[in-house]
């Protein structure tokens, strides 16, 4: 895994990797907002950033991914992301996006993942509602 893409902590609980953003909220949900294409180096940096935020959260987290402005994740990036989702400290993963491209990206990620608690929804509100539900929902 390349280690030369830098993480830029903005605040405690917020990290920037190029145009991409990671944020930890009060409900221990990590918001991932990719903007444009994500290559393997950036993907690896995002994973490092997520693990940093998990450490900051001090426990188990959920993840919400905003795909509205996401570009094409490379094959390697998707593999790295899917491996990250399988970390035992990550409970649920919700991906959302309004347009068909977002749905397609989510399909590729969900299709390759063996994690059951991963889902695609249309809006951020729907995604957050699902994440905050107590019971695990199977996709």
């Amino acid at each position: 895994m390349e280690t030369n893409t830098k993480l830029y902590p903005v605040n405690i609980g917020e990290i920037r990797i190029g145009e991409h953003k990671l944020q930890l909220d009060a409900d221990k949900i990590i918001h991932i907002t990719p903007v444009g294409d994500v290559d393997a180096n950036e993907g690896a940096a995002i994973v490092r950033g997520v693990f940093n935020l998990i450490h900051t959260a001090g426990g188990n987290v959920s993840i919400i991914g905003n795909l509205n402005n996401a570009g094409k994740p490379s094959s390697k990036t998707r593999k790295i992301g899917i491996e990250m989702f399988h970390d035992s400290r990550i409970n649920k993963v919700a991906l959302f996006g309004l347009h068909p491209v977002a749905r397609i990206i989510a399909s590729f990620i969900i299709g390759a993942s063996i994690k059951k608690d991963i889902r695609f929804l249309k809006t951020e509100a729907e995604a957050l509602t699902w994440l905050k539900k107590d019971s695990n929902t199977v996709t």
Binding site: K72, S74, S75, R78, H99, P100, V101, A102, R103, I104
Partner: protein
Amino acid sequence: MKSEKERIIEMINVLKETARGNYDIQLESSYQEDDLSQLSDVINKVIHGLKNQTVRLDYVDQRINQILETIQRVANGDYSASCNLSIENDIFDALAFGVNMMKDDIKSGIEEIKCKNKRLMQSNKEYKTLHDEYKSQNKKLLLAKEKAEESDRLKSAFLSNMSHEIRTPMNGIIGFSKLLKNPKLNGNKRQKYIDIIEKAGHRMLNTINEIINISKIESGLVDISITEVNINKKIEEMYQFFKSETDKKAIHLSCNNKLPAQAVIIKSDEDKISAILTNLIKNAIKFTNQGEIIIGCISKEQHLEFSVKDTGIGIPINRQKAIFNRFEQGDIEDKLAFQGSGLGLTISKAYVEILGGTIWLESLVGKGSIFYFTVPIKRS
């Protein structure tokens, strides 16, 4: 102002144009607020709607064709192909996106397979090299085993032969010594038995000497004593020594000595030269039943070349190198037919090489043999 008929004709013409696929035509607006004006507006709206649909269909057609073209190129193995994306993020962009990601996955998968194939081929190559090495090693081991077994067999044969060479004369000595104790033995018989005992003793001594000599050779303990040697005199001595023996077998013994006067005396080890000549002549006598034996010597540039020629049984070509090995006689099919330890030629070869010369032979089965050896010339 146009008449109603003219306005209707105009509408018909525009509709005909539209039917032909011309959507850029419109009816002129009329200021009259009547049913024909309303109809004219509706016709214009319909034409406009048809035009938009056509544009949309063209767009769909174009996007789908572009995606199909990409799929075809990928199917033909061109992984540089990629579907174009727009900023609309519409269904066609989603389709294009999906095709692009699938293409990436296929390409990634194929590269992984190629990599694995390459590693497999490399492993195969290494395996084949190892396999060939093992095969070669096995072959060498097999040869070594065969050689060891052959050596073992020859050693056993040698020991058996040695045992015979020592026991036979010893039994003769003991046996005839017992017979000599008979007080009634006549003089002739007594003398005969004494001769036999003497011969047996010489034979045994010869065998023991050869065993000691070969042991010295193999231990590197052979001494060289360089003195002046008169070659003519030496050859004459050999002739005189073996004449009676050859006469007994009715073999003609002669010398073919062609040394010029200045080459007659050299510096060398006289005993070694005697031993070599003695052995070769004895062999010639042993293996010749009729005909002649010729002892020869000629001077070459830096050495003297001795030869012992006979009309004996000859040596097969496939045995001519082996006879210089210890333990072997020329014809191993009939080992006990000829007396001897089989060490004579081995000792001769060792002595020739110690003196700095070479030894070789020419032979034909049934015709005879010529043994040659050289001795470097060191002038007095």
